[in-house]
């Protein structure tokens, strides 16, 4: 099998799929040319992400990493969500094939883009390190952003 059982579980039964019409922050990363787009919606109360939803155009691991990332930040504070790394998403999914690591990078960036949007909407003057403005393609810039890209992410 190409993917771990966890990846297949999150791919075939993705958690938190959908949109939040009155979201407090929305982030979209990736592009259709590269074959992956992730859009993440967050609802924030008192600094806590009380709800999160996603929509993803992409391969099995793109959908699975989106789903896992939403689970990992739901109910956590913004500050905690900002510490989410793509490596943590990969580990939570019991690994990804090397060619699919960029999907986890995209998931991390989607979370950060949604938080950056939340800051912007609320006039909070804070930088979100590593946030992607959505205009670039994750597949091509993952390395330059210094994301985890080692072979540790290989399928176990």
């Amino acid at each position: 099998m190409l993917y771990s059982e966890k990846v297949m579980d999150h791919f075939t039964h993705p958690r938190n799929v959908g949109e939040i019409p009155d979201a407090d922050g929305v982030g979209e990363v990736g592009n259709a040319v590269c074959g992956d787009i992730m859009k993440m919606y967050i609802k924030v109360r008192d600094g806590i992400i009380v709800d999160v939803k996603f929509k993803t155009f992409g391969c099995g691991s793109a959908i699975a990493t989106s789903s896992m990332a939403t689970e990992m930040i739901k109910g956590h504070s913004i500050d905690e969500a900002l510490t989410l790394t793509n490596k943590a998403v990969v580990e939570a999914l019991d690994g990804l094939p090397p060619a699919k690591i960029h999907c986890s990078v995209l998931a991390e960036e989607a979370v950060k883009a949604a938080i950056a949007d939340y800051y912007k909407r609320n006039g909070i003057d804070k930088e979100v390190p590593g946030a992607c403005d959505g205009c670039c393609s994750s597949c091509c810039h993952a390395e330059e952003h210094g994301h985890f890209h080692s072979r540790d992410g290989e399928e176990k």
Binding site: C34, G35, I37, F57
Partner: protein, 389 residues
């Protein structure tokens, strides 16, 4: 409908048929001699080998001495292109091929470019066809080889090979066709076709993996790729893989005997195409309606990505493939789909279903029942679906 297993990826490989395995078994259990040995054990194997070669040649309309067995289609493609390029180096170093060839041909050409050869990669039309007029225009005094596939492995387009071969001969240029997808699926007679070289592979027609062939027309000389004990008339060394050659011969005979029943496969193909396009909005057929391999269906669905589609079909027991980047090692989608002018987004959302005689009407019904809701499920998850619809 009850869950079933539907293998619709026959362009990738086919199930070895029982008859083929049965034909091979004696060569593994009792007739295992080396055809180069002069004792009876060896000479018996030689007889079996000669017989298989004659039967393969008969299926293709070739002489037995024009058939050279190899390890696979890729080896045959490498040998034909590289061998012809180097054998004719005094005449020139220019090769013509197309943008939609299999990587076995494309990457061989790219390597030759690094070695100082010049390669013209011809464009194709929106259905994946190379124009014979473009071939003619591209031929120069230093052109030695034209390498165009017989039928495309992804979108099933059948190329105008007889016309291309005729032009090549008028211009004194060798003509090679990679017929790996075509042999067994299209009636082929090499002499009527007029090509100088043709490659084929066993595992695409219900023989096992590990056996291929190159037809080289009598009088055509190409450089060897593999040196050694001088098997295959000194042109392709290595102890002959007798069991697999026997299996290949049997598979080719079976395929040839069923060649006039291929319109039944084409009917099933057309039903798949028609109903997929009717049931699923924002879908398109890649490749032509006419002049297409009888078992090939290739469709693109907007707003979704092919790998996730393939995986969900797999969950339902349906084996298919995709030209999406995510299914490849690179991040680029299929070079074939890009060459016919598909935007990247649509190339990512492609699905190839390849069927055979073995595919039943119930299998087709099952695919048609499972595919539309899976496409819808992925579209409902896609951030670009609502935006564009």
């Amino acid at each position: 409908m009850e869950k079933r297993f539907v293998y619709a990826d026959n362009a990738a490989t086919t199930a070895p048929s029982e008859e083929v395995i049965k034909a091979m078994m004696p060569c593994l259990t009792t007739d295992w001699g080396n055809p180069s040995s002069l004792h009876d054990k060896g000479q018996h194997a030689r007889e079996i080998l000669d017989d298989a070669r004659a039967r393969v040649a008969a299926c293709l309309g070739a002489l037995p001495s024009e058939i050279y067995f190899t390890s696979c289609g890729t080896e045959s493609d490498n040998w034909a292109i590289r061998g012809a390029a180097y054998a004719n180096i005094k005449k020139g170093k220019h090769i013509i091929t197309s943008k939609v060839e299999h990587h076995a041909a494309l990457y061989t050409c790219e390597e030759l470019e690094k070695e100082g050869f010049e390669v013209t990669y011809l464009d194709v039309d929106s259905e994946g066809r190379v124009s014979p007029a473009d071939v003619e225009k591209a031929i120069r005094p230093d052109t030695t080889l034209v390498a165009i596939m017989y039928a495309n492995n992804e979108i099933g387009t059948i190329m105008p090979i007889p016309e291309i071969a005729k032009i090549c001969h008028e211009k004194g240029v060798l003509c090679f066709t990679d017929a790996v997808q075509a042999v067994g699926n299209v009636p082929i007679n090499v002499h009527e076709l007029g090509v100088d070289m043709l490659s084929a592979s066993g595992h695409k027609l219900h023989a096992p993996k590990g056996i291929g062939l190159l037809y080289i027309r009598r009088g055509v000389r190409i450089r060897n790729l593999i040196e050694g004990g001088g098997q295959e008339s000194g042109k392709r060394s290595g102890t002959e893989n007798v069991p697999y050659i026997v299996g290949f011969a049997k598979a080719l005979e079976i395929a040839t005997s069923k060649i006039d029943k291929l319109d039944l496969v084409a009917k099933k193909r057309d039903r798949l195409i028609d109903e997929i396009l009717a049931k699923i909005p924002y879908s398109r057929l890649n490749g032509p309606r006419e002049g297409r391999l009888p078992g090939n269906v290739n469709v693109s669905f907007e707003f979704i990505e092919g790998e996730s589609l393939m995986l969900l079909l797999n969950e339902e027991g349906i084996c298919a493939s995709t030209g999406s980047a995510c299914s490849s090692r690179s991040l680029e989608p299929s070079h074939v789909l890009l060459a016919i002018g598909l935007p990247h987004e649509q190339a990512h959302g492609s699905l190839r279903l390849s069927i055979t005689h073995e595919t039943t009407d119930e299998d087709i019904d099952y695919i048609l029942e499972k595919l539309p809701p899976i496409v819808q499920r992925l579209r409902d998850m896609s951030p670009i679906y609502n935006v564009k619809v």
